[in-house]
Every structure is written in C-alpha cells, then in structure tokens.
C-alpha cells in the first residue's frame, strides 16, 4: 500500500500513514492544534493550512469548496476532516 508522510508543523511531529488516511485520523492522535467541530465537513472549524504537498491530498469536493469559501479560507487551506492523503510528503499547521 502506498505510504505518505504528514508533518504537523505546530508540534513538529511527522507520521507515516497509508494512502487514503484522512488528516483528522492522525492529527487528534498526535495532539496537533487543529481543532474539530462537526467532523463532517460542514462547520469549517478544522480549517488547516497546507504548507507543502498540496497536490498529495485529494481534491476538495464541491461541498468542501463551499465551506472554505464561506469561511473566507486562504490559499491552500483545507478541511482536515475531509482531506485524505494520497502519497508523498505533506506539511500542515492549524489556521
């Protein structure tokens, strides 16, 4: 199975994860500062900044795009409860 690494810059922790893992599954376990509300892509609480490896995450869905726009999210921001890793190296931090 394809492997990927995701680095949580706020706590300086890198985790090796299988492709398909959602960021939420990892961030809470390692204690990153990304916070969660609804956990289903509706509230925008878990907006995170992807500082590198943007292309190694699944494309945002139409619904995620809508929530990001409504929350005035910046460039390369994603919802941690929706984004899934595809491979390669990714770095994120809370917004």
């Amino acid at each position: 199975m394809a492997k990927s690494t995701i680095t949580f810059e706020d706590i300086n922790v890198t985790v090796t994860v299988p492709a398909g893992t959602r960021v939420i599954e990892v961030s809470e376990k390692v204690g990153s500062g990304i916070t969660y509300g609804c956990r289903e892509g509706d509230c925008g609480t878990c907006i995170m900044k992807v500082t590198s490896g943007w292309n190694h995450l699944t494309e945002p869905s139409v619904l995620e795009d809508k929530i990001l726009r409504e929350n005035m999210a910046g460039k390369h921001n994603r919802l941690a409860c929706q984004a899934q890793v595809l491979g390669g190296e990714i770095s994120v931090h809370p917004v």
Binding site: I11, N12, T14, V15, E25, G31, G33, M72, P94
Partner: protein
C-alpha cells in the same frame, strides 16, 4: 458656546456640516450602556454616517443602527434628495452601521453599493437578500462623484474581516469606520468641542482593536502617508483637531513593548499555577527549574492566587510560551484558571506555545480540559499534559523538571522532529 444645532427650528434632526461638501448625518444613542456584550459605555455612543456631495452626485458613507434610522433619514433629507444619491459606501457591515441600509436602498434604488471584498458573504448573511447589486473594492479602487473622489483602503480585521476605510482626497478626510472611534456620546460632535473622551478612546482600542494589532499596523502603513486633516469615524467624536495624534497613538498602542526589555534572540515563557495543598505548586517549581536550564528563555513563575487577571493578560499578550498548572476539583480545572483563560479574547495568542500540568486526587480531568482550551485558542500544545496523583514523588518531580525543559527547548526550536508510524498510534 460650542453647541451645535443638531435640529432645525421645528425640532427635526438636521445634518451637521464638516465642510461645505461633507455633512454628518448620524444619530446619538446616549442610553447605550453595553455594546457587543464586551464593552461598557458610561455615556452612550454615536452612530456616525456621512454625506458627501460631488458635482456629479452624492455619496452616503455608512448608516446607523436600525432603531436610530429616523434621525439618520431626517438628517440625510436635510442635505440631499434620495434621487441624487449615486453611491453608498459601507466601511463595516456590523448591524450598528447597516441597520438603515435596506430602507436607504429602497429610497435610493439607483445608488450603487460599495463594500470591501471580504464583506460580500457577510452582506448576504446580514441582510438575507440574494439579489443585491454591489461593487467589491480593494485598496486603490476609486469612485468619482465628479469633483470629489472616494478612494478605498483595504484594512481588514479592524475589527471584522470586512472593515475598510474611505478617503476623500480633495478634502483630506478619512472616513475610518470603527478605527479611531469610541463609544462616547456628546452632541458637540467634534474632538475640539466635546468633553474629555481620552478614556473612551483608549478603552475602545483595548477591547476592539487590540486583538488585531498586526492588522492595525498594516492599516497604519496605508493611512500614515495620507495627508489627513480630519478623521470621521463611525462612533464617537469627529477628529478634526490634530487628527495625527490619534494615528500616532494607534501606532504606539499596537507596537510591541517587551522588545525593548529583552534581546531579540531571547524568548519569554510564563508559568501560571494555583495550588490548594501545595502539590501543584511543587510541580510548578520543578517545571520552572527545568525551563530555566535552557539558555535565552526568560522564564517567570506566577501564583494566580497572588495576582489579578488584567496584568496577567498584558504579560500573556507578549509572551512566547504559556504553561498552566491546575489542580482538578470535582472533575474540572479550578475557577482562577478559567477566569484567566476566558479573558484572552482581547489579545492575539494564536500559535503561542502551550503546556499544562497539575496534581489531582481522583480522576484528573483538569489538565486535558485546559489543553483543549489552549488548542481551541489556536495555541500549539506539542507535549502532552503532565498529571500527578496527589503528592508528587521524586520521580514525578523529575518528570515535571523534564516537562519544563522540553517545553523550553521547543520554544527555542531545540527539539528534534518526532517521527511516528500511524500503525503505532494509540
């Protein structure tokens, strides 16, 4: 002496002249005592709105709170016909400035509305109208009224994402929105006529602008180069006597002060604790001793029992790292900790380093609850909280020492990156 006529001979509210082409058409609210839940006012406030007349049309800059719309419309009608209004500018969409907008747009349907880029989604959410025509603007955008021109300055987060300022270049007047405003109601309107409003000005800054100091500095970078002979804010006195003083004061209030006390390669770490039987205190002292081992970390240890919240908030604002020690009583952290942690909305603590420790008797929920709060405040909490059941052993005291040491190292970027495997995570 100094009394302005805010009403005509029939008692009807009338506009007040700022210049031949600019009038105040706002409303007085002397009975307001609490604003936005977080602010008090001992003598009310004003909702300032302005009318600008150009050779090719009239502009209205901001409106008033809905319940005060009658005065606004009456004053507006005293200097302009609705058919002349070509432009409506909203510098800020909070309801105390947009309350009269729907009615104004009905009375002047031909007027084009100008709002900031970031105001677009708010406009829809506030007015619940999908079919609204408006023009979003950024710094450098202009709208002409013939011989008068409005220029927009993008000044976000002062104090909402949407906020902007509008500059009337031909008269050097800055319509600043809530920036440079205050809750102070005086029917003499101008800063050279009203009573002493210094406290209100500072208090307003401290509660409204202080959390956004970085944005204030960026806005000042845009404002300071402009020749400004009058600042016309949306609340409080109109600043026509030496307006530059207020701009300088904003710069002063927004500039870091700790930088003059420590060298640029040092960082500050504050440890706050409270203890009922001395156990959390012993832990705090060990955390303090551990943190002190790291060069260039200026560590302070504070017992919350011996201090008050406001000065601690001042310290926290400029600190780089914060560690909290709390016992657990009846399944919760204790009130002095929550009192401090619920008082931080007036400052920006995002991305500061955080850590939590504490002694407990039964179940120890206090530490994880405070950790969650720190994460909710968008702080970094890289090291799991440290809990000790009742009296700490020598080993546990050593663990506290190491906890402080590691947090101080983290603060200085001295900890190596941790690499984990997903399958090994609990």
């Amino acid at each position: 002496m100094n009394k302005l006529e805010l009403h005509d001979s029939d008692g009807k509210p009338k506009a007040v002249m700022l210049s031949e082409r600019v009038h105040w058409v706002g409303s007085l609210d002397p009975d307001l005592r609490t604003f936005d839940i977080i602010l008090k006012s001992a003598n009310g406030t004003t909702y300032n709105a302005y009318v600008i007349r150009g050779s090719e049309g009239v502009a209205v800059v901001d409106t008033v709170k809905e319940g005060f719309a009658d005065d606004f419309f009456s004053r507006l009608e005293s200097v302009a016909d609705y058919s002349e209004i070509k432009v409506i500018v909203l510098n800020h969409l909070e309801p105390d400035h947009t309350g009269a907008l729907p009615e104004l747009m009905k009375r002047a349907p031909q007027a084009q509305l100008y709002i900031s880029q970031k105001a677009q989604s708010m406009l829809k959410a506030l007015l619940k109208q999908d079919e609204m025509s408006y023009t979003p603007v950024l710094t450098g955008d202009r709208v002409s009224l013939g011989d008068r021109t409005l220029e927009f300055l993008h000044t976000p987060y002062l104090h909402w994402p949407d906020t902007q300022c509008t500059y009337l270049a031909e008269e050097n007047i800055l319509f600043s929105g809530d920036v440079f405003g205050c809750h102070y109601c005086d029917n003499r309107l101008f800063n050279d006529h009203v009573g002493d409003f210094r406290f209100s000005f500072e208090y307003y800054y401290a509660h409204i602008m202080r959390p956004f100091k970085d944005y204030v500095m960026r806005a000042l970078d845009l404002i300071e180069p402009l020749p400004v002979t009058m600042i016309a804010p949306t609340h409080g006195p109109i600043l026509r006597d030496r307006p530059d003083r207020y701009v300088r004061r904003y710069r002063q209030l927004s500039s870091p002060s700790l930088a003059s006390e420590i060298s640029c390669d040092q960082k500050t770490l504050l440890i706050f604790y409270i203890s009922s039987y001395g156990n959390t205190r012993r832990m705090a002292e060990a955390v303090y001793a551990g943190a002190m081992q790291v060069p260039d970390v200026r560590v302070s240890l504070y017992d919350l029992e011996g201090g008050e919240v406001d000065p601690f908030v001042d310290l926290i604002e400029e600190a780089d790292g914060l560690i909290f020690g709390t016992p657990t009583i009846n399944g919760d952290a204790v009130k002095p900790i929550w009192d401090l942690l619920s008082s931080l909305t007036v400052i920006n603590i995002k991305t500061k380093l955080g850590g939590v420790f504490g002694s407990y008797g039964w179940t120890g929920e206090g530490v994880p609850l405070v950790e969650d709060r720190l994460r909710g405040l968008k702080m970094r909490v890289p090291i799991p909280g440290l809990r000790v059941k009742l009296i700490p052993t020598d080993e546990e005291i050593q663990a506290c020492h190491d906890f402080g040491l590691e947090l101080a190292k983290e603060l200085m970027g001295l900890r190596s990156q941790k690499v984990l495997n997903f399958a090994d995570l609990a």
